[in-house]
């Protein structure tokens, strides 16, 4: 039976962003990754319209995490206080294509470590692994403005993805990321209008739109994922509709969000299954749900969750 055509009249597409610079382009990375490029919604149109294969960025913390549940800390127990070895383990044993160096330790309410520490850790990780890096601040504006420019400088020319900049704190990091040749993460609190606004602000400072990746904030499965899900779908539709200020690839923070919730870490939960399985499963399914809405880079933590999600991605992006 003849079936009607579903012709989508999309005029726009998601930008392609490449992370990492090899020797030829002035860096020391041994590999690069390219994300974005979708010309339709997830599974919409033909397979050729799909985005580049989404990538998983495995988290490495600059200082030993204090509050990780046992299930999560277990696979890293010998490297948790050595970011270089930790990154190496992620790449060599767990196949990480990107490392996200998360500077939790600089937060004034945590270890309150200084810029010299952050610079040293960045150097260590750059030396330890050849994959592209994401460099992610602690979330405290003042401290990030002090530390992240120094981190940016030491990684100059490596074409990292650095962030995050927000509506009310974007100038310092945007300027330095531009000067050091990095890509930039713009962050919004689950609000599509603010997301667009931050992109406009960064662009007004001369930052090229095609080097921005958006972070819309992430909710874990069961804890607001539906808001993140719908915002990602709307962002994709806006990009396809030709809105240049929304045509960026998207990054999400699944690792941190999913390991915060009860379902992932409560050991004493009769009928819910062993917490050793539940934790990785919660992280994996949070990532998989967001993949259905359209995300390009997924920050993750547990190797088993990474393996499940990678397997899923490989089945779709063959």
């Amino acid at each position: 039976m003849p079936v009607p055509e579903v012709a989508d009249s999309f005029t726009g597409s998601v930008n392609r962003v490449t992370l990492g610079a090899t020797k030829d382009s002035g860096g020391t990375r041994t590999s690069t990754v390219t994300v974005g490029g979708a010309r339709n919604v997830v599974y919409g149109g033909s397979i050729e319209d799909a985005s580049e294969k989404p990538v998983i960025a495995m988290d490495v913390l600059d200082a030993k995490p204090q509050d990780w549940p046992d299930t999560l800390a277990e696979p890293y127990k010998d490297v948790l206080d050595s970011p270089g070895d930790w990154a190496k383990k992620c790449v060599a044993e767990f196949g990480a294509e990107v490392i996200c160096l998360k500077f939790d330790g600089i937060h004034p309410d945590k270890a309150d470590l200084d810029a010299a520490h952050a610079v040293k850790v960045t150097e260590e990780v750059l030396k330890a692994v050849g994959v592209p890096l994401v460099l992610w601040g602690c979330g405290n504006d003042e401290k990030d403005n002090q530390v992240m420019p120094k981190v940016s400088q030491i990684a100059k020319g490596q074409n990292c993805l650095i962030g995050t900049v927000k509506e009310d704190n974007y100038k310092a990091l945007t300027a330095i990321a531009l000067a050091d040749g990095h890509n930039l993460i713009t962050q919004a609190p689950l609000d599509i209008n603010i997301a667009k606004q931050v992109n406009i602000l960064a662009s007004d400072m001369g930052f090229p739109l095609e080097r921005i990746v958006t972070f819309q904030a992430t909710g874990a499965l069961g804890y607001g994922i539906e808001y993140a899900y719908s915002i990602q779908e709307r962002q994709r539709l806006a990009a396809l509709g030709g809105d240049k200020m929304m045509a960026m690839p998207a990054i999400c923070d699944v690792g941190y969000e999913s390991w915060r919730v009860k379902e992932a870490k409560l050991a004493d939960a009769p009928g819910w299954g062993d917490v050793k399985n539940r934790g990785p499963m919660w992280e994996a399914t949070t990532a998989i749900c967001l993949l259905q809405a359209g995300v390009d880079i997924i920050r993750m933590r547990h190797p088993r969750a990474v393996a499940i999600v990678r397997n899923f991605i490989n089945q779709i992006w063959q």
Binding site: P4, V6, G44, E233, A284, T285
Partner: protein, 446 residues
Amino acid sequence: MPLTGLEIFKLLPKTNCKKCGMPTCLAFAMQLAQKRAKLEDCPDVSEEAKKLLAAAAEPPMRKVVFGTGDNQLPVGQETVCFRHEEKFHNPTVIGVTVSDKLTGGDLKKRIEAINSLQFERVGTQLGVKAIAVMNDSGSVDNFAAAAATVKQSSDLALLLISESSQAIAAAAGKTKESVPLLASAKPDTADEMAKIAKENNCPLVAKAESIEQLSELTEKIKAEGADDIVLCLDVPNLRDRLYNLSQMRALALKKVFRPLGYPTISFVEDGDADQQAAQACGLICKYSSIVVVDTVEPYAFLPMLTTIMNVFSDPQKPVQVEPKVYPIGEPDANSPLMFTTNFSLTYYTVESDVERSRVPSYILVVDTEGTSVLTAYSGDKLNEKTVADAMAKQNVENLVKHRKLIIPGYVAVMSGKLEEATNWEVMVGPRECSMLPKYLHEVWKN
């Protein structure tokens, strides 16, 4: 797709006889288009026009119901492709397989394991809703016997899965009071299967290898008089399944292509529990009305069922928690008391951070009509009066001996008025609740 007034007008007698109460046929057509009049009011309308108008009024995706009692399950009747446009209507049903090779104690054990896949999370009951009896044995008798046993030992809705029309007929005969979903009619068995479905008054799965074949198949089944159809695309890999589900959804809803205007079913039987849960979550998000899995590991079901809960939630209505006092850990009369709003996202974030602190505490949830702290404050739903009322209503005076209330850092500005309204000492907590553990340890304890 609904017809416009002009399209309806073309189907009317155009006599302007006024018997319907309207001055002209055109006026009547306009009223019909807006559903303010009924077609029966026109005594002269032709049978053909009646049929056309009735067909146009049907939803683009049919609702199909199977099961009985608490597990009478409606699937389908979706209207949009994206949940931000409108709430998705009928939540995905999760079913689990039972092989008819199992007998006696093994069969009972498997059914029992599936029956117990029920969960309570955030005050809501979630669970597996259906059992799929698989004709793995190839035997008609074994299949019918297994179906009868499942019917007896479980309240869950039934799916009968066999390629053989004899097996389906035998099993349906023993279970038809439970309105099982029969699966599957293929192009070469469409006639017999449709007949069985019609005789037993059960919905039927149509299974084919391409969208074109499936469209032909549903028309054939419909012509046999079976209207309640569920679509199953028989493609082996996950990528093709997901792309096809999206295409079928678009064809049904955007093109109003009737041969595909039905709910869908997917089978996830390969891989371990991890892989099955992963695939199922993808299929739930992207338009599978029923997902049948093989695993019975509880840890795999909790995320699948939560995905359904989240994806099918109403995007217009914030999810709320009941306004009351929630004890975290085992608090006593000296434990801290703090308040937050009844927007579920706000509450559960606070709850998780308080849990993380391991400081036993009370969280008082103030009814702010499901808005977050800042939104509620700007909308005047969170002020000294609503907080004081909530404190009085929940009798917090009897809960703790101290008279100290921790308030969210974002509404520090209401401290003065709140102290006046309650005579309690107000302690301003952190702005971000991720800082609560530190606050409870360092500020509260001193």
